[in-house]
């Protein structure tokens, strides 16, 4: 049993080091203006994927603008934007197989957009109406999709990181060549779960990719108060894990890095840590106002590095995209979002019974009793419960329907 794998010769003078000499470069292909750096290799991004990628970034931007406005108008209780980080999120997603698992934090709607989450699905979750598969139980932006291999978002930070390690271990045993992508912020990377996840992944050689969006802030806390080190990438060395730092505003670079990371993960069972250097252009959430902790000037400097314009220019130069096409697309997306939102706002709330289903696979008797009491109570005071009282009888009709076994038509497990 060796207690170290180091082959370094012993030294006889105390040699302290703090890793200052480890300089992790940023991998980037597109210049801020969207042209390729000299020396940038051929991109492996094909036309269709490139267009799909850019479309998803555009969609995300349109969605965020529209929903933030809706929140400001008081139509929505809460919202979080991906703005500025679309390249990191969508670029990575595009490099995966569509059946690879994604376990994200909350700011990664771009990944869903790329995989074809419908506007209706976005809206139903945001408005917590009857169409939301999670029955309006979670706050807005806590999307999930089993079909699209996107784990339902959970607010406690970093919990999905060791879960990703476990999920990927299961994928490895299943032997279908899939991997898991965990996405999280540089703030979340301070949690104990991060350490657990990376260490376990490297010990058990798990096909998982850890993508850290280093966007400069965790709410108001700048990275300088989050860690003293040079970003998050260098932590990988402590686990002897492959890592790379990439320009998170360069979709092309993120795509290439993730593609190679996926190869390492799936073909060599080498977990990988990717640190995407980017910036949270918007407020942390609709509840936040960044003017108290950072300058407009700083924001402006980053606005110039907008990941959308950068990729757009590259696409235009290749002739894979047209300005006119974009205008039309944006127009139609805006309409689609607005129209769908209007419908979603009007959809009825989830059935009262959804308060007690899904706690366990079956509703236990004592909980069923609590529910029955609640129903009786709501019936006695319908005026106090406008969200559920009007639908009580409709719900019972639904229940009858659900007791029909043919209604249970199960979707296959991912």
């Amino acid at each position: 049993m060796k207690t170290t794998r180091s082959t370094a010769k012993p030294v006889h003078k105390p040699a302290f080091a703090n890793g200052d000499d480890i300089q992790i470069p940023v991998f980037t292909l597109l210049k801020p203006d969207g042209t390729l750096y000299a020396g940038a290799g051929q991109s492996s991004l094909e036309r269709d994927t490139a267009r799909r990628l850019y479309r998803a970034m555009l969609y995300t931007r349109v969605l965020d603008e529209r929903m933030m406005a809706a929140q400001r108008q008081g139509r929505l209780s809460f919202y979080m934007q991906c703005t500025g980080e679309e390249a990191a999120v969508v670029g990575a997603t595009a490099a995966l197989d569509d059946a690879d698992m994604i376990m994200a934090q909350y700011r990664e709607q771009g990944a869903l957009a790329y995989r074809g989450f419908t506007t209706e699905a976005f809206m139903d979750q945001l408005f917590g109406n009857q169409g939301d598969p999670a029955h309006g139980r979670q706050m807005p932006i806590h999307y999930g999709s089993r079909e699209l291999y996107y784990l339902t978002i959970s607010s406690p930070l970093a919990t999905q990181i060791p879960q990703a390690t476990g999920y990927a271990y299961g994928q490895k045993l299943a032997g279908q060549g899939h991997c898991t992508l965990a996405i999280f912020g540089e703030g979340a990377a301070s949690e104990g779960d991060f350490h657990a996840a990376l260490n376990m992944a490297s010990v058990h050689k798990v096909p998982v990719i850890f993508l850290c969006r280093n966007n400069g802030y965790a709410i108001s806390t700048p990275v300088t108060e989050q860690f003293a080190g040079d970003g998050v990438a260098a932590r990988a060395f402590g686990y002897r894990m492959q890592s790379i730092r990439v320009d998170g505003n360069d979709a092309l670079a993120v795509y290439e890095a993730t593609r190679e990371a996926r190869r390492l993960a799936v073909e060599e069972n080498e977990p990988v840590l990717i640190e995407a250097m980017t910036y949270r252009l918007a407020a942390h959430s609709s509840s936040d106002d960044p003017s108290g902790y950072r300058s407009k000037k700083e924001e402006e400097a980053w606005r110039k590095k907008d990941p959308l314009r950068r990729l757009q220019r590259w696409l235009l130069d290749l002739g894979w995209w047209e300005e006119a096409e974009e205008q039309e697309l944006v127009e139609s997306l805006r309409r689609e979002v607005l129209d769908t939102m209007k419908r979603a706002e009007k959809r009825r709330p989830p059935a009262l019974e959804t308060l007690v289903t899904d706690v366990y696979a079956e509703v236990p008797p004592a909980l069923r009793e609590q529910f029955d009491e609640l129903v009786a109570h709501v019936r006695r005071h319908p005026e106090a419960y406008p969200r559920s009282a009007p639908w009580l009888d409709a719900d019972q009709a639904d229940d009858a329907l659900q007791d029909d076994p043919s209604a249970h038509d199960g979707e296959a497990r991912p």
Binding site: Q138, M139, P156, S388
Partner: protein, 325 residues
């Protein structure tokens, strides 16, 4: 006296504590420049410097571990957990460490200076993870003191007492009241007693017991009951553990009836402990079963939050049923 909301009262208490004792430190996620996501620590960094009020990295187990160490050293840490829902990564540091520090060392070491503050409770459309009321988890842990204030005046006095208590205290702040509860708060430094419940309204027929934001609910229910001719005695438990059995028991010995209400799920909630103790203490005086009006045994929902919560109507109905038993 100044008119303050609950948030201002908390901020004022922290300011008072830091001014009075240089060993008092405030830290947690975003509590520095920003003053906390709810602004409970506003201007403290400005006033007392970055060494005494600062942001921590985003790691609750580290925040409480760090705070335990500081308290052992003789400092007086007031650590903020951004939401009570996020206190669980620190559960080991609290339950296995803070709570047992003094006992396991025979008082060679203690973390009596420790206070952990966290916004808590529902009613703000926070869903699963911005609404929980986890007091019962901590109440099963000998060594801890758990406090919940009901209004600005209480908040300042109880928080100052918590910071100065020789035992570690978890101080849950009903965030629904942060801006909603407004009242007169003394400007000076004062403390309200820990471990003492307060009878906030005397009555004859039934005792209503609650804590934090739930008192407002219980008060509304009591009004409805009074209209129906039922005289309610209302008690604010204030300190969840160690709890004031005497005050509650003497009230129930008088009224013969008890309704306890909290937002947390029913099963294993702290009302269970109260009911178990009181049925034992007051067995021959009870005229009807002790009733619990609580959240459902489910995670905290969003769209149907109102249906989930133990609102005034539910408490009122429980009062009626208890009277009619």
């Amino acid at each position: 006296m100044s008119r303050m909301n609950l948030l201002q009262a908390i901020n004022n208490a922290l300011d008072t504590a830091m001014a009075a004792d240089p060993r008092v430190l405030c830290f947690g996620e975003d509590v520095g420049v920003f003053g906390g996501v709810f602004r409970a620590t506003s201007h403290l960094q400005e006033k007392y410097g970055r060494e005494r009020c600062f942001n921590t990295p985003l790691v609750e187990q580290g925040i409480v571990g760090f705070a335990n160490g500081l308290a052992a050293q003789g400092s007086v840490p007031v650590a903020e957990i951004q939401f009570a829902d996020y206190i669980f990564p620190a559960f080991d540091q609290i339950v296995n460490e803070s709570a047992k520090f003094r006992y396991r060392s025979g008082s060679l070491f203690d973390v009596g200076g420790l206070t952990i503050r966290a916004p808590y409770g529902g009613g703000i459309a926070g869903g699963h993870y911005h609404s929980q009321s986890p007091e019962a988890y901590f109440a099963h842990t000998p060594g801890l003191t758990v406090v919940v204030p009901r209004n600005p005046h209480q908040a300042k006095g109880l928080l100052l007492a918590s910071i100065r208590s020789p035992d570690p205290v978890i101080f849950f702040e009903p965030k629904r009241l942060y801006r909603a509860a407004v009242g007169e708060v003394p400007d000076e430094d004062y403390q309200l007693p820990l471990r003492q419940a307060e009878v906030i309204k005397a009555g004859e027929d039934i005792t209503l017991l609650a804590w934090g934001a739930q008192l407002e609910v219980v008060e509304q229910a009591a009004e409805m009951a009074e209209e129906a001719g039922i005289s309610c005695e209302i008690i604010d438990l204030r300190t969840i553990v160690p709890w004031d059995v005497e005050t509650v028991a003497s009230s129930v010995l008088k009224t013969g009836r008890l309704v306890v209400s909290h937002e947390a799920p029913l099963t294993g909630g702290f009302a269970a402990e109260i009911a178990a103790t009181i049925q034992s203490r007051c067995f021959l005086y009870l005229e009807s079963p002790i009733a619990r009006v609580t959240g459902l045994d489910t995670p905290f929902p969003l769209t149907l939050e109102k249906e989930y919560m133990p609102g005034p109507l539910k408490v009122f109905e429980a009062i009626q049923q208890t009277m009619d038993f």
